[in-house]
């Protein structure tokens, strides 16, 4: 919300500097995002009168002028401008001055131009940062020629209207009443403890609309709670006076003509969007506010045509649409050069209806933006009064009656009775935790426009009509403390509260432990968006029917690349790897623990399952078995001994992929990225990926540690090397050994060796270290003879079941 300092002063006497006011506004809840001094870049520029002009002796295009700068003395200025003449009063930038220049600041220094001393520079409107809306002639090509009555030697800034400040104020969503100069003025008055001249409640409307042979019918009172109309006759369309144009310009609005400018001025000052129709084009002497029919069309002022639906509210005359309610007027009834009679509209439209129309059609305006924030029903009345007053002030038409008793067509005024809140001073204190003196409470609320009836311990307020956000004592408590000052809030530490036991649940602790366990194995934690591109599924070569493709879609994504909720974590992790490799990070280890989103049905009928997954990636250094070792280690920390079985996934190397199981349950997959995908991504390094179903793992986490007795006698270890067919896996070998002998507790592979010449084609030698134990309750240790017996049995079984030969 842009608020010019000078405009604010129309309504409230301000004896503070703009900076001090900024602080006061901040403390009462209005953050000034930017305080702009319009004359910031213009320094040491004064009014001067040209007393002589002579041609430069050595340059055809330059003129040497003598300028009388009053108290600043007579200066010699060399200029290239052609619109200067003797007797002209012009802005003179003296030695050391600054002016605006191509979006920046230019410093002016005295110096010689082609041998002749120039003690400064004449300024154009552009160099002062102004348009015609600030000063007549500011936009001419050349030097700004000032009015001949401007005082010589005086600072140019007040003269051209840039000795002013703009407060760019952040207004919170609960205060649509402060989306106007007047609204802010009320706050300023309250915080400075001053009276203000605006926002006096409008005189209540009395009597029925005068019969002017014109009717207004609102068919959708819910979407248009209030509609006011008024006629202005004898209209003379002309440019607005400069003061008005300047104010519009300060707030970033373009001047059109006096009548249209009045509506915009009211929007800014009062916060009421208005529209002016040319009476000539309103057919049938009536206004109808109704929903559009499906396919009905309207062409708005900016000459865009829209095809409408019943969601869009229309302002129609007796025959056709003439405005898109709250958004923009129709081209068919716009104000023209020769307009002589105007129908002013000041209405209140439901914010949601305006927002829907504006979004659906992609058509926004200052008016729609204002309605979306909320226009309370008392505002049209005030806006209309102010508009008609302006018409008279500008002398650009005749309201059909005197402005203070205008010929309103006030439809659906509704009940504008003030809300009452009854509470106690104690209730206010109970929210704040401090005692605010009763007199302060009353004074603050009164300054904010509340009428307070003090009834001893309790009090009742009637709420100003523009404060729709107030509905209970906590709201009043906020009003009081923001004016009383938050510094009165002294810290206490839950003096009345019950002691509670805090901390993480065991499931939450497990998650922290899991992250730590992965981190300790060299993996750094990544964080990726919960959404990804549906193209990832293609990259991962997932078939059309793959469950991973059943992803929840975002209706309004940032872009296609972030449009579906993840069903697996690997794709974003792979993107991370690619980014790292492209940045020259040749090796690394990353992990992420995050949710995937698994819909029970699509489109969603209930919340999807949010299932925690973990993904690990490793590239550059290390291979499949490093990643596998990490996974085994992490699961081992949770008492899980996973098993691995050869598996296939379309996105992993068909020969280097394993499904991970814990007990019967599949809990994940592990493998090398498919070389075809690596090639597609121009990855020269091998990438190894594992995705774990953390939610399934959590089910099998060993919660408690149960101590097992140590074996009574030392374990015995024996190495065994066998020659087997290439297809025999390590897991098969291990299982066969452990099944053959109860005393064998582990069989760990430590060597694989291939030599077609010595072992035969398609054969390999596998060496395992077997550990035998006598158990915790054994009476005696294992004798060499006993172990020999186990060994023979194992060799027998291996030979029988796997065709293994002892080496």
């Amino acid at each position: 919300m842009k608020v010019p300092f000078s405009w604010l002063k129309d309504f409230v006497e301000i004896d503070l500097s703009p900076e001090a006011l900024e602080e006061r506004l901040f403390s009462c809840g209005f953050e000034v995002e930017e305080l702009i001094y319009l004359g910031k870049d213009v320094e040491n520029v004064v009014v001067g009168e040209i007393v002589s002009c002579e041609k430069h002796p050595d340059a055809d295009r330059l003129t040497v002028c003598k300028v009388d700068c009053g108290a600043r003395g007579e200066k010699q200025i060399v200029t290239a401008a052609t619109n200067v003449f003797v007797g002209a009063r012009v802005p003179v930038a003296l030695d050391g001055a600054t002016v605006k220049h191509e979006g920046g600041v230019q410093k002016i220094k005295a110096g010689k131009l082609r041998g002749i001393l120039s003690e400064g520079m004449f300024c154009s409107g552009e160099e002062l940062g102004i348009s015609d809306d600030f000063y007549e002639g500011a936009e001419v090509n050349g030097i700004l020629i000032l009015d001949e009555n401007e005082d010589l030697g005086s600072d140019i800034r007040p003269i051209v209207g840039i000795d002013d400040y703009i407060f760019d104020i952040a207004v919170t969503a609960n205060r649509p009443d402060c989306q106007s100069i007047l609204g802010i003025a009320c706050e300023v008055a309250a915080v400075l403890k001053k009276p203000h001249g605006g926002f006096l409640p409008p005189s209540p409307y009395e009597g029925a609309p005068t019969d002017v042979g014109f009717s207004v019918e609102v068919r959708e009172p819910a979407l248009c709670p209030r509609y006011l109309g008024s006629f202005v006759k004898d209209v003379k369309i002309a440019p607005s006076p400069r003061w008005l144009r300047r104010r519009l310009a300060l707030c970033g609005m373009r001047s059109v003509n006096n009548l249209v400018d009045i509506t915009n001025y009211i929007l800014l000052e009062v916060g009421q969007p208005m529209h002016a129709f040319d009476r000539r084009y309103l057919r049938g002497d009536r206004i109808v506010v109704r929903r559009a029919e499906a396919g009905e069309k309207i062409v708005t002022l900016d000459e865009k045509e829209f095809s409408l639906t019943p969601d869009n509210l229309l302002i129609c005359d007796g025959e056709r649409p003439v405005a898109l309610a709250g958004v923009m007027g129709g081209l068919n009834s716009e104000i023209r050069e020769d307009t002589t009679e105007v129908f002013f509209e000041a209405a209140s439209f439901a914010r949601d209806s305006v927002r829907k129309t504006s979004r659906a059609l992609g058509q926004r305006s200052d008016s729609s933006a204002r309605f979306e924030k909320g226009v309370y029903p008392v505002l049209p009345h005030y806006g209309m009064q102010r508009a008609l007053w302006l018409v008279q002030k500008l002398g650009c038409g005749t309201p059909t009656d005197k402005w203070f008793a205008p010929n309103f067509c006030d439809v659906q005024a509704g009940d504008l009775a003030k809300k009452k809140v009854r509470t106690s001073y104690e209730a206010i204190d109970s929210v704040l935790g401090i005692r605010v003196p009763k007199e302060e409470v009353n004074a603050i609320l009164t300054r904010l426009g509340f009428e307070v009836s003090d009834m001893g311990a309790s009090f009742e307020v009637s709420v100003p009509l523009w404060r729709e956000d107030i509905d209970g004592y906590p709201d009043l408590a906020e009003e009081i403390i923001r004016m009383y000052d938050y510094e009165h809030i002294t810290p206490t530490f839950l003096e009345n509260a019950t002691v509670t036991h805090g901390g993480l649940t065991s499931a939450q602790k497990s998650e922290e432990k899991f992250k730590r366990a992965v981190q300790h194995r060299g993996f750094s934690e990544a964080c990726n968006y919960s959404f990804c591109s549906p193209k990832e599924f293609d990259l991962f070569r997932l078939p059309a029917e793959a469950p991973e493709r059943r992803a929840v879609k975002i209706l309004n994504p940032i872009g296609e690349d972030l449009s579906v909720m993840r069903t697996m974590l690997m794709p974003s992790m792979l993107q991370n790897v690619v980014r790292n490799v492209r940045r020259g990070n040749e090796s690394g280890r990353l992990f992420e623990l995050a949710n995937v989103y698994l819909p029970k049905e699509l489109p969603l009928k209930e919340l999807p399952e949010e299932r925690r997954h973990a993904v690990l990636a490793l590239w550059g250094e290390g291979d499949f078995f490093d990643l596998k070792g990490a996974v085994e280690g992490v699961l081992g920390d949770f008492g899980i001994k996973p098993s691995f079985a050869r598996a296939e996934r379309p996105y992993l190397h068909p020969g280097i992929t394993a499904e991970i199981s814990a007990g019967e349950e599949c809990v994940g997959v592990l493998g090398e990225l498919h070389p075809a995908i690596a090639e597609e991504l121009a990855l020269e390094k091998k990438v190894f990926l594992a995705e774990l179903d953390y939610a399934a793992l959590r089910e099998v986490f060993a919660e408690d540690i149960v101590y097992r007795n140590l074996p009574a006698f030392p374990d015995v270890r024996r190495d065994l090397a066998v020659v087997v067919d290439e297809k025999v896996t390590c897991a098969e070998l291990e299982a066969c050994i452990l099944r053959a002998c109860k005393s064998a507790v582990s069989a760990e592979l430590f060597d694989v060796y291939r030599d077609p010449a010595r072992l035969g084609e398609g054969k390999k030698s596998m060496a395992v270290r077997i550990t035998f134990t006598s158990g915790a309750n054994a009476e005696k240790g294992l004798t060499p003879e006993a172990v020999d017996g186990f060994f023979r049995k194992i060799v027998g079984n291996l030979s029988h079941l796997l065709g293994a030969e002892l080496r």
């Binding site: 919170t172 914010r351 206490t492 003096e495 002691v499 509670t500 990544a526 929840v552 940032i558």
Partner: protein, 339 residues
């Protein structure tokens, strides 16, 4: 007798030749082992007449003691030499690079999240995580933000259907908890939130930490007391807070909470843009409607809530200047957040 001396002399000679402790051991065994020559002498005792046996036996024992002493002496010599040879051989270029055994790191957001949980669980807060995909009711309506409420425009929401959306605030978790649990409540709700905002300073996904206290007689002063404690632990022992009015639909009064700049101590610097204060979180007294929506009597109980962006805290704490770094997952970035 001479026989003994010969044995000793040859043992000494062989011992002197043995260069390794292994070889020396073998020599020792030749003389003193189970099948060694001294043992053989002892076995031959039975052929000695009984009256000479004690003297003979003593001589054998003397010999054995001399031999053991000699072998021990030689052993010490050999071992000494072996050790110094080994030490020489094993010497390495200690300036060569160490073998890598790097730990990974936790993401800065996780670190700050853990730190926050630490601070507040010490004050009796439990941690509750609600779903990331929410329905309209929990994310908005129950938080006093009905369909046409102006506050809905404050946040750009990602919708999945008319009803389901990506939660825009962890406050949604407040309602789920309060539906299940009655006061006293002290809850933290950390997690991912989503807003359709993507520019230099906004990320469409970030993390929030929501805090909620509901009990009898909770006031704005209690909120300030707790946040003071938080600021001192999180930023610096001398941190101060400043409250200023703000607006959230689910709290009334609502405040923005600024913390004095930990970098300059409040004097004004580039981090705090010269103001001495840093905007850290939003908070307020829980709106009565919100309590009512959860079946908690607002005349009996009151509470406060606060919410902060974890990324923001992490950026302030570590001096990270670009929010995008937090989701790029560049290992050079992540590895800086070592334990």
């Amino acid at each position: 007798m001479e026989q003994f001396e010969t044995i000793f002399a040859s043992a000494a000679e062989e011992a002197a030749k043995a260069e390794t402790s292994r070889a020396l051991y073998e020599v020792r065994m030749q003389y003193l082992g189970r099948t060694g020559s001294v043992t053989a002498l002892l076995k031959g005792m039975r052929e000695i007449p009984a009256e000479e046996r004690p003297a003979y036996g003593k001589k054998i024992n003397d010999l054995r003691e001399r031999l053991e002493k000699m072998f021990d002496g030689r052993d010490a010599e050999v071992k000494e030499r072996e050790l110094s040879a080994r030490l020489r051989e094993e010497a390495v270029d200690v300036t060569m690079p160490g073998r890598k055994c790097e730990e990974g790191t936790l993401h800065p957001v996780t670190r700050v999240r853990n730190e926050l949980i630490d601070i507040f669980s010490g004050m009796g807060f439990e941690v509750f995580e609600g779903p990331e995909i929410e329905n309209d009711y929990y994310n908005f309506t129950a938080l006093n933000t009905p369909a046409d409420h102006p506050a809905r425009d404050m946040q750009d929401t990602f919708y999945l259907t008319d009803e389901f959306l990506l939660r825009t605030q962890t406050s949604a978790g407040q309602i789920r908890l309060m539906e299940k649990k009655k006061p006293p409540i002290k809850m933290l709700s950390p997690g991912r939130v989503f807003r359709s905002d993507d520019d230099a300073t906004h990320s469409p996904m970030f993390h929030q930490m929501e805090g909620l206290v509901v009990d009898r007689g909770i006031t704005l002063c209690d909120l300030r007391g707790m946040l003071d404690e938080f600021a001192r632990t999180m930023f610096s022992a001398t941190s101060k807070t400043r409250l200023r009015p703000s607006y959230f639909p689910f709290t009334e009064p609502s405040v923005e909470v600024d913390v004095s700049c930990h970098l300059c101590g409040g004097k004004g610097c580039s981090l705090c843009k010269g103001t001495g204060w840093i905007e850290v979180l939003g908070a307020g007294i829980v709106n009565r409607h919100v309590l009512e929506n959860c079946g908690i009597d607002p005349d009996e109980y009151s509470g406060f809530a606060f919410g902060m962006g974890i990324e923001r805290i992490a950026m302030l704490k570590y001096g990270i200047n670009n929010i995008k770094l937090l989701t790029e997952n560049d290992v050079r970035f992540l590895k800086q957040f070592r334990d």
